[in-house]
Assembly symmetry: C2
Homo-oligomer: 229 residues x 2
């Protein structure tokens, strides 16, 4: 029995990591003009990781980490105009149109007629609310939860408030670390739909033991058939 289905937002319902990747490429090209051999990408990943405890997830923290990386790898030679360019990259990300993944509209419309749907998304509150509003999907979800971290405690609390037993809950998402493992951990079911890019921080190995609660699908289009099966 399924009492509710939860969906991740970024890279499950709408494209996100492609926009980060595009920005990171632009940042890389800008930095390479200063320091051809500096390992800019690795430096940025390390900087983001070091800042995570202060900034959390989201575009604004990413912008600040790009600026710090630029200052560090150029040894303070970066021009102020190029720092403004980095800020403008970030502003473009925040303003970027929300593009739904293929099939999302139809699948959500079909499933919401039969199940309560929850949107459970992680990151910057303001940016996520803006994306949800622009996605056109907001009113299709019975509950929308924007959280700062997706761990077992987070899911347990959401389900408790919703009055849904973990065993009757199914979570659908692209991140093994945030959408799949914690839900399996509290006894729920999970459907992993990998996106073609995964942010390094979200990569995690699948469960070591085979888990009957876990399904991997190629596309959200395959979800209704899986649920009916």
């Amino acid at each position: 029995m399924i009492a509710a289905i939860g969906f991740d937002g970024d890279d499950t319902l709408w494209h996100n990591e492609t926009i980060f990747s595009m920005t990171q490429e632009r940042f890389h090209d800008l930095m390479v003009r200063y320091v051809p051999e500096a390992g800019v990408d690795e430096h940025l990943v390390a900087r983001e990781r070091a800042n995570l405890h202060l900034f959390g997830y989201g575009v604004k923290g990413f912008m600040l980490s790009m600026i710090e990386t630029a200052i560090e790898v150029t040894r303070e030679r970066i021009a102020a105009g190029d720092i403004q360019r980095i800020i403008d990259f970030g502003k473009m990300m925040l303003d970027h149109p929300v593009e739904l993944l293929d099939g999302v509209d139809e699948v959500i419309d079909g499933l919401r007629a039969r199940y309560p749907l929850f949107l459970i998304t992680k990151g910057d509150l303001f940016d996520q609310e803006s994306k949800i509003a622009r996605s056109g999907l907001a009113e299709k979800f019975e509950r929308i939860e924007i959280v700062s971290e997706k761990d077992e405690a987070t899911y347990a609390q959401i389900l408790q408030r919703a009055g849904v037993a973990p065993g009757d809950f199914m979570m659908v998402g692209n991140s093994m670390r945030s959408d799949i493992l914690p839900v399996l951990g509290i006894g729920g079911r999970a459907v992993h739909i990998p996106y073609h890019i995964t942010w390094e921080h979200e990569i995690a190995p699948p469960p070591a033991e085979p888990n009957a609660g876990l399904t991997v699908l190629e596309s959200i289009r395959d979800l209704p058939a899986h649920i009916s099966a």
Copy 2:
């Protein structure tokens, strides 16, 4: 009858604007070395306001607005090392100890024995969660709501989910614009406790007509007596 009491966080339960002010002074002193006559403070306020639709509220957006202001007022002459200094100012803000206002601990402890207490705070999700955790107050509130904007719709939705009629709700806060007017607007009661500094964006005139639901107190210490009266 009071069915629940809501409290704002920043500058109602703990000091916040003092930390922003301190940072803004440091920023001012840094900028004055480049441009003695540039009206840095006004420029920063205007920049923050222009960025609000993209950044929302919070320290990370403030950091980015300081950096943009620095680039603009120096006409791109600011040194990268000084931009790092601005980022470090912001990191200090994010890491700053949470200092409760005088009387908060006792008043909250007294009231929670008699009423369900809600913490309703605005801003960056990650930063607010971190402050709530560090405040030591988290477990004293029946509900904690971190929202991106405090308007009538926000309060109406929170109260509906909590099953509290607006007429039975009392909100306590320092911001006329965010804590008082919207709550009065939906028929609730509000207690305004001004803080000694108010961010320009939060300033709003009090209601034009006398409002029986509005009380102004000097300190949170006066709240229990007001409620019992």
